[in-house]
Symmetry: C2
C-alpha cells in the first residue's frame, strides 16, 4: 500500500504538471498579445482607409495585414502544440471552446478584409467586426488567467489581462476619435462612447497597476509620462467638447491617430515585459518545485516510534505556522508529520492568496456579464449599460460589482426586449 | 493546422476525462463515509469502555475495531488506484496532501487503541483523537466536493459533505452526552459543548436538505421522524438542564447511547443512498457526454460559404440562448458557429450554476477557518469561538459568513495568544 509520503510526492508532482501546463498557457497569452496588437493596428488602418474613401493608406494596410497573418500563424502553431488528446488540467474545456471560437474568427478574417477593400462596410461596422475578433482573443487570455493555481503567477496574469483589456479600450477610443474627426457619425452618441472607453480603460489600468510587479513599473511610468499624456488629453478635450454639426479641424485627425497610437505602443511595451516576467516566473517556479520534489523523493519514511505516531493526535498539529523559529533546512531528515504540516499550511496560504487574486478577475467577469444582460434585455449600447450600472451603484451606495451581482441574480425578473 | 471543430472535440474530451476523475473521487467519498461510520462507532464504544473502567463492552469494541480496519483497507485500496503518476486534474495537489495526512492518522490508529486498552487516556482525550482522524477524512471529502466541475454533481457532493459533517456533529453530541451521564466532567462547560454540537449539526443538515435530491428525501424524512426525534429531544433536555453537581440517572445513559446511535444509523442510510445517487449521476453524465462526443466527431467541417464565415462578426452571435424555438436535433449537420454558440452558452450556464453551489462550500470553509483563528489567537474552545462569531453576526446584523470573512481579512490585527 502506498504510504503517506508517496502521496506527498504525488501532490508535488501534480503541482509541477500544473505549472508546466500554465507555462504553455503563458506562451499562448504572449502570442495572443502580439496578434491582438497587430489586429488593433489593422483595425486603425482599415478605419483610415475607409474614412479616406479608399484612397489613403493603400500601402500600409496590406503590409499590416501580412504582419497580422504572421502573428496568427504563430499563435495557431501554439494551439497545435496544446495536447488536445491528453486529459488536461482544470478549465481546459472552457479554454478549448474559446480557442475554437477564435479559430472561427481567424478563418473569417480574409472575408472581413474583402468587405473593407471594396468599401462595402462603413468604418463603424468594420470596427465592430475587429472588436469582436479581438474580444474572442481576450477571452482565451481570460481563461488562461483563471486557470493559474499559483498565487504569484496568478497576480501577474491578472495584471496582464487587465493591461490587455485596457489597451483594447485605448484602441477603441482611437477608432472612436477617428470617427469623430471624420464627422460621419452621430456626434453626441459617439462622444458618449469615447467617454466610456476612456473610463473603462482607466478602470482596467488601475487594476493592472495594483497587481503589476516592480520590474515593469519603469515601462509603465514611461507610458504614463506627462509628455505623452498631455497631447492626448488636449485632443480628448477637443473631441469631447465639439459641438454637434460643427466640423472638426481635419488637421487634428492625423495628430489624434498618431498620439493614440503612441500610447498604445507604449502600453504594448509594458505588456511585452510583463509577458517575459510571467514566463520567467513560471520557469523559476517549476525549477524550485522540481528541486523540492528531488529532496522529498530522497526522504525515506522515518522509523515511526510510538511517540511520533501519536503526535498525529496532538491538538497543536495545525499550529505549524506558529512554530518555525528554527531555520529551514530541507536537507535534514524530517518526520512525515512535519512535512505534512508544512505542505498543508503552504497549500492553505496559497489557496487563501489565490482567492483574493481571483476575486478581482471574477469582479470583471460579473460586471461584463451584467452589462451584456442589460444590452440584450434592455436594448442598450455598451456605454449606456455601463452608465446604468454605475448610476445604480451610486444611488445605492454600493460597489459596482455588488450591483452587477444583484442584477445577474434577478435576471429572470428583467423584461425581455421589446420585439 | 487544427480546426475550430477539433478544439470543440477536445473541449468535450477534456470534460469527459474530468468526469471520469470525478467518478473515482466519488468512489473515494463513498468508502470514506463507510470508514467514518465505523470510526464513529469505535469512538462511541471506546468511550463506554473507558467510562466503565475497562469492564464493559470488552467484546463489542474489538469486533468494531476489526470492522474499522476492514473499511480502512478498502479505502487504502482505492487510494492506491488513484493514478498518482499521471498529471491529474485541478485540485489534486490538495487532495493528495489530505490523503497523506489521513494515511498518517490511520497508521497511528493501533497506538490510539493501545492507549484506550490500557486505560491510559481519559474518555475526553480518546474522543479528541478519534475526532481528529475523522476530521482528516472529512477533509478529503471536502476536496473531492470542491473539485467537481459539473453543477448537478457538485450539488450532490455539497449535500453529501454537509450530511457527513452533520452526522459527525451528531457523533460528537453522542460522545458529549456519554461524558455528561458519566458525570466525570466539568458539567456546565460540557453542556455548552453539547448545545454547540446540536446547533452545528442542525446548520449542516439544513444545507444538506437544501441541496438534497428528491430520491433521498424518503430516507431523510424517516431520519427526521418524530418517533426517533422525540426520545432524543427528551434526553437532550435532561442533559442540558441538569444541575451541576447533581448526578444523572445512570439508567438514562444506555438509553441516550441507543437513541443517538439510532439517529446516526438513520443518517448513515441517507448517506448511502446519496452516495449511490452520486455514482449513478457520474455514470449517466459520462455516457451522455460520450454520446455527444460521438456525434461531434462524425461532424465534418461544413463547406464555408462567405455568408457563413461573416456570421462570426454579427452582433447577435451571443444571443444563442434566445434563439432556439426549433427542436434540438443532434443528428442534423450544423454549422461550426452554431455548435460553438451552443457549447459556449452551455459552459457559461454550467459555470454560473457552479459558482452558486461552490459558494455554499466556501461559506463553510470560511466559517471553519474563522473559528480556527479565534481558537488559536484567543485561546477559545470550538464552541466558544462559534458563539463569538454568531454573537458578532447578530450584533452587526450581518450573515455569519460575512463576519467570518471580515475576521479573516483582519487576522493580522488580532492579538497573539497570551503566552
Amino acid at each position: 500500500m502506498k504510504s503517506g509520503l508517496s502521496f506527498l510526492v504525488a501532490a508535488r508532482r501534480s503541482e509541477i504538471s500544473e505549472l508546466q501546463q500554465l507555462a504553455l498557457n503563458c506562451a499562448l497569452v504572449d502570442a495572443t498579445g502580439r496578434l491582438i496588437h497587430a489586429l488593433q493596428r489593422e483595425r486603425g488602418l482599415s478605419n483610415l482607409y475607409l474614412g479616406s474613401g479608399g484612397t489613403g493608406f493603400t500601402t500600409e494596410r496590406p503590409l499590416q495585414a501580412r504582419e497580422t497573418d504572421r502573428c496568427a500563424t504563430q499563435l495557431r502553431a501554439l494551439f497545435d502544440r496544446l495536447d488536445t488528446e491528453a486529459s488536461l488540467a482544470g478549465h481546459s474545456a472552457r479554454l478549448f471552446s474559446r480557442i475554437a471560437w477564435v479559430l472561427q474568427g481567424l478563418d473569417a478574417l480574409p472575408r472581413l478584409r474583402e468587405c473593407v477593400d471594396t468599401l462595402a462596410w462603413t468604418p463603424a461596422r468594420a470596427t465592430r467586426a475587429y472588436v469582436r475578433l479581438i474580444a474572442g482573443l481576450l477571452g482565451t487570455v481570460f481563461e488562461a488567467a483563471d486557470s493559474a493555481g499559483d498565487p504569484g503567477l496568478s497576480r501577474l496574469l491578472v495584471a496582464l489581462f487587465n493591461l490587455m483589456q485596457g489597451k483594447e479600450y485605448a484602441g477603441r477610443e482611437r477608432a472612436s476619435g477617428v470617427l469623430l474627426f471624420a464627422s460621419a457619425c452621430e456626434r453626441t452618441s459617439e462622444q458618449q462612447r469615447l467617454l466610456h472607453f476612456i473610463d473603462a480603460q482607466e478602470r482596467c489600468l488601475r487594476v493592472f497597476a495594483e497587481f503589476a510587479p516592480n520590474k515593469v513599473l519603469p515601462a509603465w511610468h514611461e507610458a504614463q509620462d506627462p509628455s505623452t499624456l498631455a497631447p492626448l488629453e488636449r485632443l480628448r478635450r477637443i473631441l469631447c467638447t465639439a459641438t454637434p454639426g460643427v466640423p472638426l479641424d481635419e488637421q487634428h485627425s492625423a495628430e489624434w491617430f498618431g498620439t493614440a497610437t503612441q500610447r498604445m505602443d507604449a502600453l504594448r511595451r509594458v505588456e511585452e515585459q510583463l509577458g517575459a516576467e510571467l514566463l520567467a516566473g513560471c520557469d523559476a517556479r517549476i525549477r524550485a518545485a522540481e528541486a523540492e520534489l528531488a529532496i522529498l523523493e530522497k526522504q525515506t519514511t522515518p522509523p515511526s516510534d510510538v511517540g511520533d505516531l501519536l503526535a498525529f493526535f496532538e491538538d497543536n498539529a495545525s499550529a505549524s505556522a506558529d512554530t518555525p523559529d528554527q531555520p529551514y533546512n530541507p536537507s535534514l531528515q524530517r518526520s512525515t508529520l512535519e512535512l505534512l504540516r508544512e505542505q498543508s499550511s503552504r497549500l492553505q496560504s496559497m489557496s487563501d492568496e489565490l482567492s483574493t487574486v481571483r476575486s478581482s478577475l471574477n469582479e470583471r467577469k460579473l460586471i461584463e456579464r451584467a452589462k451584456g444582460l442589460l444590452m440584450a434585455r434592455r436594448n442598450m449600447g455598451e456605454e449606456e449599460a455601463h452608465k446604468t450600472l454605475r448610476q445604480m451603484a451610486m444611488n445605492q451606495k454600493r460597489r459596482l460589482v455588488d450591483v452587477a451581482d444583484a442584477l445577474l441574480t434577478s435576471a429572470d425578473l428583467l423584461p425581455s426586449p421589446k420585439a
